[in-house]
Amino acid sequence: MADDVGVSAVDRVDLDRVEDDETLYRSVWLKEFCFFLDEEGVLHVSAEAFADRQHRPSVFRHHLCDAPPYSNPPRLNPDNAVVSLTAGRVRETSPISHQSGKQPVVLYVIDIEPDINEGQHRSHAVVYANPAFPNSNAFAKLKLRLAQLVEEWTIPPDAAFIEQLKQQ
């Protein structure tokens, strides 16, 4: 299109906001602790593939990566698998309700924001809750939902690894 002449995909991306239609990548360590096969042999990514001590799992925005999915980022290690999510579907997990002990039920809004602090790559973003999750029990709901929202094995685990999982 004429409007696009001289404008790169990166230039069209809003650096301050993650749009609903954006593809987000998560690099997943290729170890048995991050993947498993169910009884029917279906491969699943573990909820703990999204574990993060700050309760803000990192993702990388497709349009701002250099050569996705094989560049780093989003692939943080040459052996890692890469899975993809859609930003809008992540937001649709809102609200996550959680009750800690005898405290009142709290509704957590889930959102994604760019995070290029501390030398992070321009494509780096984080999934976060507002208000922030008070503990790992509340955060576990988000991790489980993110694992279920994985839409595509952008770089799937290799066949040798799958075979290793079958042997377990």
Partner: protein
């Protein structure tokens, strides 16, 4: 002459790993253990004797045990992000939890589905199962066990959580997982 069998009902009310007097450090801990006895909870006993490992490779818990032992090898940031190394006390507690669940499901005549073993960002041991649309997670810390179960896309109406420490809670989760 046949040997005397321990009634199943008696086995259910054994609380595994109650700490000895030397392990009791506060009145709060005493209270917690009394409650545990009353409700047949699995209590935290990080310094109690280790759970015996299944040595037979054909044992249904063998691979789970190997995976739990594998958690000891994980260091901080093991998943490439900001996470704690698995807590050794949580790993030992997870062994007790999974062995309780295994024995209970066997005594109820349920079939066994091996869990996926992993760890969370705080170092708790985590068990996961996926069956059709259902996902079940149980996070075992040195002092607690909580579950999250999901059976559809809605976090509000198709995902719940709670404690997974009592016999009744464990069996309820297992029945839920197995039902089509």
């Amino acid at each position: 002459m046949s040997s005397v069998q321990t009634p199943v009902a008696t086995k259910r009310f054994i609380v595994i790993g109650m700490p000895s007097k030397t392990h009791v450090r506060s009145s709060g801990e005493i209270d917690r253990n009394i409650v545990a006895l009353q409700h047949n909870y699995l209590v935290s006993t990080p310094t109690s004797a280790p759970v015996p490992a299944p040595t037979d490779r054909a044992h249904m818990l063998y691979s789970t045990w190997e995976s739990l032992e594998g958690l000891y090898e994980l260091e901080e940031n093991w998943n490439g992000y900001d996470v704690a190394a698995p807590d050794p006390d949580a790993i030992e507690q997870a062994k007790k939890w999974i062995q309780c669940l295994y024995e209970e499901t066997r005594s109820e005549g349920h079939r066994w589905i091996s869990p996926h073993v992993t760890a969370n960002e705080e170092g708790s041991a985590v068990f996961e199962w996926a069956r059709h649309k259902k996902r079940l997670m149980v996070c075992v810390s040195p002092s607690d066990a909580i579950y999250i179960k999901s059976w559809g896309p809605s976090v509000v109406s198709e995902m719940t959580d709670g404690e997974a420490v009592s016999l009744e809670a464990r069996l309820r989760l297992w029945t839920w997982l197995l039902v089509q």
